[in-house]
Amino acid sequence: MKFISDVKLLLKITQEYVNAQFTIAFSAIFSLLFLLYCFNFSEGVWRPIVLVFFAIYAATTIYVWLTSLVIKKDLAKHREVTKRSRLLGIPLILTVFAGNVFAAGYGFMLASKNKTAEYTFAVYAFLTQIFILMISGLNIFKPYVVDTFILAMGTFIILAALYLVTAILIARHVTVDTAPKWMLPLGIVLLIPTLTGNFFSLLLGITLIRKARNTDPSAVEKWQKTWNKILRNTMAVFGLFFIVFMFSLSVVSSWTFDYDFAVENNYAVLLQTPTLEYPLGTDNFGRDLFSRIVFGAQISLIVGFCATIIPALIGGALGAISGYYGKNTDNIIMRALDVLYAIPGILLAIAIIAAFGANTTNLIIALSVGAIPTYARTMRANVMQISNYEFVESARALGANDRSIIFRHIVPNALAPMIVKATLTIGGAVISTSSLSFLGLGIEPHIPEWGNILKVGSTYLESHSYLAIFPGLCIMLLVLSFNFFGDGLRDALDPKSN
């Protein structure tokens, strides 16, 4: 009896098994969706491509289910996943080419026993790169591609190969606390692809450099621990993956996508249903919905990030000053912010845009102003708590001036809740941007932005529903991703759980 409960416990703490359950669920849901969509009920014909996807996903589901059985058996017999079972993970990696990031991620997890944060970073950097490669590759079916297309695609392939090689090297040579010295240059090289917006590469590079230099083992350990906590949360990882993927795609889109397809009207192809040339169809002006959504991510993310960072900086500074000095300073700043807080954020944004006109800068300002008080409140509470600690007293005793106490001693220690709050509200900022554009108050209507695209789609909901579904899905997924990642971050940074 004791033996069985032991296996149950083992199953619970074995990441591969948990991951397998998760992958089965998602692959099953997707195969079901493909199954539903593969038959055109109104015309009574099959959609062969969708059918193929259904077959791949269904096969993946069954395969993952079988591997989960093997893991269960291994754990019962050997108390660990055997080397032979781990080989079963390698074929799963190929499912990335069918877009199944869950199964591919699981395949990588299963294939390596060594689960350092670097390995996960390298794996997701690779998956992101492959996704971008495939998405950009769809442009081959367009009448023409941009001049930089071949070069960019070549770079993507090289980068993907680099990440894959790095992942293999890490699996072989990097342990939880050390990395061989010769990995230092590799780490530096991996910082360069950050220019493509692939943040996994940045994280990978930083971690590798710190580990290889090994100057401050305790900091490395703390960093490693935090990331391990985040990475153990599967939803947070996929959230981060989608955010990085979208961000990277919006950065590189200028080199692989032609902006003309997204803004120039083409009256010969109005309201086309999805084809290879127009993977998500065309809108009422014959513009390629696929290109529009990709370019739309740029504005949504820029506005989302800026409208989060600006109030976080201003509100954070005001909150820190207010919390540190207290008394009248506190009263004046916080009461003034209370006045601002009393005005509904979206109404304030509408009023600002109505007064100063609609463009990206005004949109960022409008969304930022309303969010300042909440950041100030969060920061103030943290600073009030921290300014009573001994290390602040000692800094004061050593003669440090107020500015250096606030910004060098207190604020860095009060940042964790701000980061979590920012991640959670960034999704809200993306939605606000889209809502304002949807109301016709945001960006000019021909500029691709998710709210604009959704607005056009909403009037064709009945006849050409894909015009609304795809931008809607994108907004939803991005916001969900930020929320999942924010949740994971909160759990990891929560002092109670540390």
Binding site: V145, V146, V263, E264, G440, P445, H446, S463
Partner: protein, 602 residues
């Protein structure tokens, strides 16, 4: 191992090269278009309303493709749009014009003649051509209007035409009998003919119609001329003549039995009915005042219609500036002596449709008795031969108001009128629910407005309107629902919340056709959309070359394909009334030529 790696690498290289070869890059494709015009791109500010966003996008796209930089100025509603227009914050503005009177003069006079109600142009040649064309008919008129279009559009490019719209009317046929709903080309919707499928419901059920604008300018026919009251006032006041569905001037459904034009085209005669009384509202019901809609009221109404100083803020006097005198005919023999163009006498011409032959013409409304042959006849004169005056009489501003009711309300002095304290006849505050409600309307038409709020306006039938004839209103109660957004209005029609929608969006006609509860009716319309150039201050005002460059950038066929062939090409606002044979063709070579000329002149 090394050999394998080498094979792999070489295969990859070959594949990459093959791939590079078969993909065409943008510079391969667009090589020929490389000859961009040199110099800085002219910046054009395009002004429009949110509702014409699609048109703005098409214009923007066409201008950008022809080497302009376009700045959009999108305003949410008509009020802020006109504010921007009046402030001159535009180079080109998306404008539209509907010729509700169905005559070509109205399509140009107010819009393009120097000093006209809506005019922003001042060009002597254009003024002269407008005046000359107004006196002509037939092929002569066609030639003159062709000259006008040449001067207005092609020589000077004061406007750049976009398209002519068509009318798409959706009817909720499960409830309303679609055969009874008219769809005229120019005139406003006529309510009196509409009936439910089950005629028993006409007395009890409310017919629900739709209008986009909830703020009513004025219910005095001469104090407003816009979409907010056009349909309402048309149904609340009867006129001397009407427009048929195909824009002929007829007496059917009007105050006159018949009308006649003297052979000199300067005298017009109308013989009046005696079966219409004014109605007023008492306790939310329409009551017959017993006051006949008489020749005295006609004289009073038309005299105030042509006199700028008869009411404060007169909006329609320029339409009626061609009326010289209006009088009641007192002598039957004068009708016998004047001849029409056919050689018949006016009396003969007027007598065609009468219930009893004219035995006497009376001047006092108390003496009127049509059954006994006692009629009132109104004579109207114009200073010059101007047959199109009849079209203007059919306009809502020619509606007949009650002399008694109007003079009872408008007791103030027009010159010192203060909108804050003085309430004029037809002010919307008097029929809006709430403290200021004091309905003083007197309706001569088939329906009378009881009250309104931001959601709807309710109307009831005038009990003394041609009772017993085929023109008697069929339905007792009508509610006009205010829904600003056209797509929302369509949804309301689809679930039966409104019964008739006059303006189904072009891109949604298939939705109406596919709905078994609905019927779609289509008709030509006089609505023309065009780009209006700023004629003061901006570069577009100074340079005809720049305007012409914009003009030849406009490709009307792209508009037509965007609207799924539901628009027609236009040259000017006259096109739906008289096809002069001219055509605007997009021509990027001409655009380059004019742009170069513009750049050189700078």
């Amino acid at each position: 191992m090394n050999k394998k790696l080498f094979t792999l690498a070489s295969t990859a290289t070959v594949a990459a090269v093959a791939l590079t070869g078969c993909v065409e890059t943008k510079s391969d494709v667009k090589e020929n278009d490389g000859a961009e015009s040199t110099g800085t791109k002219p910046v054009i500010e395009l002004l429009g309303m949110g509702s014409s966003e699609q048109d703005m996008n098409i214009v923007r796209d066409q201008l950008v493709k022809n080497g302009f930089d376009v700045k959009l100025n999108i305003q949410p509603d008509y009020g802020s749009f006109t504010a921007q227009q009046d402030a001159g914050n535009f180079d080109i503005a998306i404008s539209s014009w509907t010729t509700v009177t169905g005559n070509p003069d109205y399509a140009v006079r107010g819009l393009f003649k120097s000093g006209g109600d809506y005019s922003r142009t001042a060009d002597k040649t254009v003024d002269k051509l407008i005046d000359e064309a107004s006196t002509l008919t037939g092929d002569e008129a066609k030639e003159k209007y062709k000259e006008l279009e040449q001067a207005l559009v092609f020589d000077n490019a004061y406007i750049a035409p976009l398209y002519i719209s068509q009318k798409f009317q959706g009817i909720y046929k499960t409830e309303v009998n679609p055969d009874t709903v008219r769809l005229p080309k120019s005139r406003a919707q006529a309510w009196e003919t509409i009936s439910f499928n089950d005629e028993g419901k006409n007395a009890s059920e409310t017919l629900v119609l739709h209008q986009a604008i909830a703020s009513l300018t004025s219910l005095d026919p001469v104090k407003a001329n816009d979409g907010s009251i056009n349909t309402l006032n048309t149904n609340m006041y009867v006129r001397l003549v009407n427009l048929s569905d195909t824009d002929d001037v007829v007496s059917e459904g009007s105050l006159s039995y018949d009308h006649a034009i003297a052979e000199n085209n300067e005298e017009y005669y109308f013989v009046l009915r005696d079966d219409i009384n004014f109605a007023k509202v008492e306790g939310e019901k329409a009551v017959d005042t017993g006051d006949l809609v008489s020749a005295e009221d006609v004289v009073f109404s038309l005299n105030r219609a042509k006199d700028e100083n008869s009411v404060p803020d007169h909006r329609t006097y320029s339409i009626h500036e061609n009326i010289d005198t209006v009088e009641i005919v007192s002598d039957l023999t004068s009708l016998e002596s004047v001849k029409t163009a056919d050689g018949k006498s006016i009396l003969e011409e007027l007598s065609d449709e009468l219930p009893a032959a004219i035995s006497e013409v009376v001047t006092d409304e108390k003496d009127v008795d049509n059954a006994a042959g006692k009629y009132q006849v109104v004579k109207l004169t114009t200073p010059n031969p101007f047959p199109q005056v009849l079209n203007y009489l059919a306009h809502q501003s020619g509606g007949i108001v009650s002399e008694a009711a109007v003079t009872a309300v408008n007791t103030f002095d027009v010159a010192s009128y203060d909108p804050n304290s003085d309430i004029a006849y037809g002010d919307q505050s008097t029929i809006t629910e709430g403290g200021s409600y004091a309905n003083h309307l007197a309706a001569s038409g088939p329906y009378i407005l009881v009250k309104k709020n931001d959601y709807e306006a309710t109307f009831v039938k005038n009990p003394a309107y041609q009772a017993g004839t085929e023109n008697e209103p069929k339905i007792e109660n009508i509610s006009v629902r205010f829904i600003q957004d056209n797509d929302s209005a369509l949804s309301a029609l689809r679930n039966g919340e409104i019964h008739v929608l006059q303006s189904v969006p072009e891109t949604k006609t298939d939705v109406v056709e596919g709905d078994e509860n609905l019927q779609l009716k289509t008709a030509d319309s006089n609505a023309v959309s065009y780009l209006l150039f700023n004629t003061s201050g901006r570069e577009t005002a100074k340079s005809a070359d720049l305007r012409k460059a914009v003009l030849y950038s406009i490709n009307q066929s792209e508009f037509i394909s965007y609207y799924q062939d539901k628009k027609k090409p236009a040259v000017s606002t006259v096109t739906p009334l008289i096809d002069t044979g001219l055509k605007l063709e997009a021509d990027s070579a001409k655009v380059k030529e004019f742009l170069n000329a513009y750049n050189e002149s700078k």
